[in-house]
């Protein structure tokens, strides 16, 4: 009995022991399993955050260079200034914080004061992208003002710098405050430009200070790739400034242009004016647009208008907008006709001023008709009826084959965002929908829409011996050590027409510049081939786009240029009047920049300006005699025996009978004259007025024949200048340029 009870007792004790063990150890094991397997990651992170410092090493966004490695866009570390309004308890402190921050950061006091009042928040951003000098001032202010250390904070930020502000802004684009591309190349190549952030994991000591590098793991940040563009800073500047002047001169809404390398399709310059400053993309640059927004009544209307204005100024119209190319397209019709053998450049036609297709009457720009002319002259005259005739001979199917081959039914494939997308039977007629009427209007560039980049690519095919190349704007991408990670190769899409046909059309276009509607694109010393176009803007048909597309030198083309002036509102709107002079300006400057030697004809040589000789230090009488012997008009100022100075200085370019003022007395140096009005005159008239007023003119633009008129002078009327100063006067012809 006793044994039994003893055993029972022993068993109970054993059970109790086992239970204690099972519960005790079981809980422990359960806890370990839970901590290790179930919540392992959670505890790991907690331990790491307690013992390790994990710092993200930001990867800097890649730099954008032009083709000559000039920096176009570059990122740098800057700072953000923020406040913790929940720590502001007294109005006195609030006022002081607002005062200090607004003064240092150049902000409005009221706005900062209002932010300081958000006492429910512990983080309110005051200003982002603060540069080092301002950051240092803020740090000093925090040190010097009691209590600021708990209120004002500084943290790191990134800023993208665009040193040339408006330079190709619609092409380059911009980044947001998060350093992500928002527009243009910044957006399109965002994945290349953005790097991969790295990490530094360091052990922390009890005081939360990072321990030595032996406890450190470094995961290197992969810096963003750099882009090398095909854009040339100098050519871009020529295009930008020419377009800027044109927009002002012709009171146009926009002006856009493209300069393309003939052989490769590389874009050397691309511009849309008016544009914006890449450093301040949200500021609407166009003052007239801002004035209109201010006139709106409600805040909502103003906000909507402001948003639309921003989107509008960011738009790269050379790539994203469609327009009717107008008579520029006649080059394509001519190429198709010659290639198919339905017409030759020498074939004679009779332009009666109209062409009837079914019940529709199409008129020539010259209503009375051009009469008998050859096919080459018909292009020079931009004669619509002849091109309708050629298109009818080709037939809709064959015509459409060339329309397609020249790339008008597809995107060009340029590496820029939001390229205009042609849509069959919406933006153009397909072959089976091209009736006689549609074919007629399409033949001279109406009833369909294309983008400027499509037009310049098509005309470039004519310059390039019939080869259609794919345009591109990024030449290469480089890693942080400068090694090439990608290089764009020229892509020849197809041979659109034969080399012989391309040469014949090229010749026709050259004649158009020499004696036709594109005469204002003439550049002395260079053979320029081109065609102008004027088209109504759809859908209102109230405004026009005047355009010019051409290439130079015609005998060995290097560049193809397209210029379009959108909604010119001062006088003529023809492409020959508004776009061709801009084309000439860009071609002339670019040819010189590319070191392409001019080849002057005898008549061009006879009209060239002359360079002033140096007569400083000569006896005044002999200097005067020498200058007069060279054909200059001489004015002597002062009573000295020697020439002290001269204006224009030696080496300046003035017309052959230009004024040279020689000063023989130091005191006489201050002789001033007023610049007269030199606008609306022929070259001879302007020169006469200039000499009568004691200044010289430098002639620019189209000056052949007697129908030219001055439309721009570099120094405005009434400005006081030194006698003998040079004023550049631009001329163009306004006769026979209607297309």
């Amino acid at each position: 009995m006793a044994n039994k009870s003893r055993k029972m007792l022993q068993n109970r004790a054993m059970v109790a022991m086992v239970l204690v063990c099972v519960f005790g150890f079981g809980l422990g094991i359960f806890g370990l399993v839970r901590a290790g397997l179930v919540k392992g990651e959670y505890y790991k992170q907690k331990a790491e955050s307690q013992q390790l410092s994990d710092t993200t090493v930001s990867a800097q966004r890649g730099t954008i260079y032009d083709r000559n490695m000039n920096v176009i866009a570059q990122s740098a570390d800057v700072w953000k200034v923020y406040i913790n309004p929940s720590k502001i308890t007294k109005d006195e402190v609030r006022q002081n914080v607002a005062k200090v921050l607004s003064e240092i950061l150049g902000l409005e006091y009221d706005s900062v004061y209002e932010k300081c009042g958000k006492s429910k928040y512990n983080y309110v951003l005051i200003k982002s992208q603060v540069e080092y000098d301002k950051k240092t001032e803020i740090t000093e202010a925090v040190k010097n003002n009691k209590g600021f250390s708990q209120i004002v904070g500084i943290e790191s930020d990134v800023k993208r710098y665009y040193p040339y502000s408006n330079f190709a802004s619609t092409v380059i684009g911009f980044t947001g405050t998060d350093d992500v591309g928002r527009s243009g190349l910044e957006y399109f190549y965002d994945d290349v430009l953005t790097g991969t952030p790295g990490r530094v994991v360091t052990a922390k000591n009890a005081r939360q200070i990072k321990m030595s590098s032996s406890y450190e793991s470094y995961y290197e940040a992969l810096q963003g790739g750099n882009l090398v563009l095909t854009i040339d800073q100098v050519i871009q500047y020529y295009l930008d400034s020419a377009l800027e002047h044109a927009v002002v001169d012709f009171n146009a809404t926009y002006g856009y242009g493209i300069v393309m390398d003939v052989e490769t399709g590389a874009i050397l310059a691309m511009s849309t004016k008016l544009d914006y400053d890449c450093n301040n993309p949200y500021t609407v640059a166009n003052q007239s647009v801002l004035d209109k927004i201010e006139e709106l009544e409600t805040d909502e209307e103003k906000n909507n208008a402001l948003i639309n204005a921003r989107y509008s100024q960011w738009r790269n119209r050379t790539v994203s907008d469609g327009y009717e190319p107008g008579s520029v397209f006649k080059c394509v019709t001519a190429a198709a006709g010659i290639e198919e053998g339905v017409v030759t450049p020498a074939e004679m036609f009779n332009c009666r001023g109209y062409y009837k297709v079914q019940d529709r009457m199409y008129h020539c720009s010259h209503r009375e008709g051009h009469g008998v002319e050859d096919f080459t002259t018909s292009l020079a005259n931009s004669c619509n009826p002849i091109y309708i005739e050629v298109a009818q001979r080709l037939g809709a199917k064959t015509f459409f084959k060339y329309f397609e081959a020249f790339g008008f039914t597809e995107k060009t494939g340029i590496d820029l965002p939001a390229e205009y997308s042609p849509t069959a039977n919406v933006t153009y007629y397909t072959g089976d929908r091209l009736g006689a009427v549609e074919l007629a209007s399409t033949s001279f560039g109406q009833s369909f829409q294309v983008s400027p980049i499509q037009v310049v690519t098509a005309i470039n095919a004519i310059a390039n011996g019939g080869k259609l190349v794919e345009p591109y704007i990024v030449a290469a991408s480089l890693d942080e050590n400068g090694n090439k990670t990608m290089e764009t190769q020229t892509t020849v899409k197809r041979q659109v027409v034969s080399e012989d046909t391309a040469k014949q059309v090229s010749y026709m276009m050259e004649e158009t510049v020499r004696r036709g509607t594109a005469k204002n694109a003439y550049v002395a010393g260079y053979r320029v081939a081109g065609k102008t176009g004027t088209s109504e803007k759809l859908p209102e048909r109230r405004y026009y786009i005047g355009s010019f597309c051409g290439f130079a030198p015609a005998n060995n083309p290097k560049i193809t240029v397209l210029i379009a002036i959108d909604e010119p509102k001062s006088g003529s709107y023809y492409g020959g009047t508004v776009a061709a002079p801009v084309g000439a300006e860009v071609i002339s400057q670019t040819m010189a920049y590319l070191n392409i030697e001019p080849q002057y004809t005898d008549s061009e040589l006879a009209n060239l300006d002359v360079t002033t000789p140096n007569v400083v230090g000569h006896a005044s009488s002999s200097a005067k005699a020498d200058l007069e012997a060279k054909g200059f008009t001489v004015r002597t100022v002062g009573s000295g025996s020697k020439v002290v100075s001269q204006n224009p200085a030696s080496g300046q370019v003035i017309p052959k009978n230009g004024v040279v003022v020689i000063y023989t007395d130091e005191k006489a140096k201050t002789t001033k004259v007023q610049v007269p009005n030199l606008l609306g005159m022929t070259v001879a008239e302007a020169n006469r007025v200039a000499i009568a007023n004691g200044i010289n003119i430098k002639i620019s633009g189209y000056t052949s024949g007697s129908t030219n008129n001055s439309y721009r002078q570099s120094i405005t009327e009434g400005t006081e200048v030194s006698a003998g100063s040079i004023v550049t006067v631009s001329f163009k012809s306004s006769v026979d340029v209607a297309d």
């Binding site: 920096v71 740098a76 080092y132 710098y161 030595s212 100098v234 500047y237 400034s241 070191n595 001019p598």
Partner: protein, 169 residues
Amino acid sequence: MASNNEAVNYNRINMYGSAAPKINTPAPKRKPNEVQRPRVVKKTRKQIKLEQRRSAFKAAKVLVICGIFFALISFQIFSQVKVDELDRELQSVNSQIEILDSENTRLNMQLDSIISLDKVDAYAQDTLGMVKVENYQVSYVDLSSGDVATVSGGKVHHSLWDTIKSYFN
């Protein structure tokens, strides 16, 4: 020996509450403690000195070890402090480098914007009164046949073949 074991067993039975009569066994008699006389070892002075020296040496040894131990710990602490200090300096220098990099970029961008083509163009024309070069003012040199320079008065070097030919001529 056996009686002792039995006594233990009886005690155990009693301990576990047995009804059996308790047998009192006499506890074993203890032997009175024998008092041991301390042994007196006589040491010579020499031995005493030696022992004193030994104990002094032992004390010195302990002190030296403690000193070394203390020095090691101090060195360890000092080096740790130094490393921490250098870490802080390194972080500060790195931060300075970042700031200077940023400043360098900013100033370069500022410089680029100051010498942009439009500003240079405007300054050259408006302030300095310069005009752009005309195309016809540029002289082009034809180098299509190669860039050749003629050295006057120099020694004429003949090839080995020319020398052999001239020898036979």
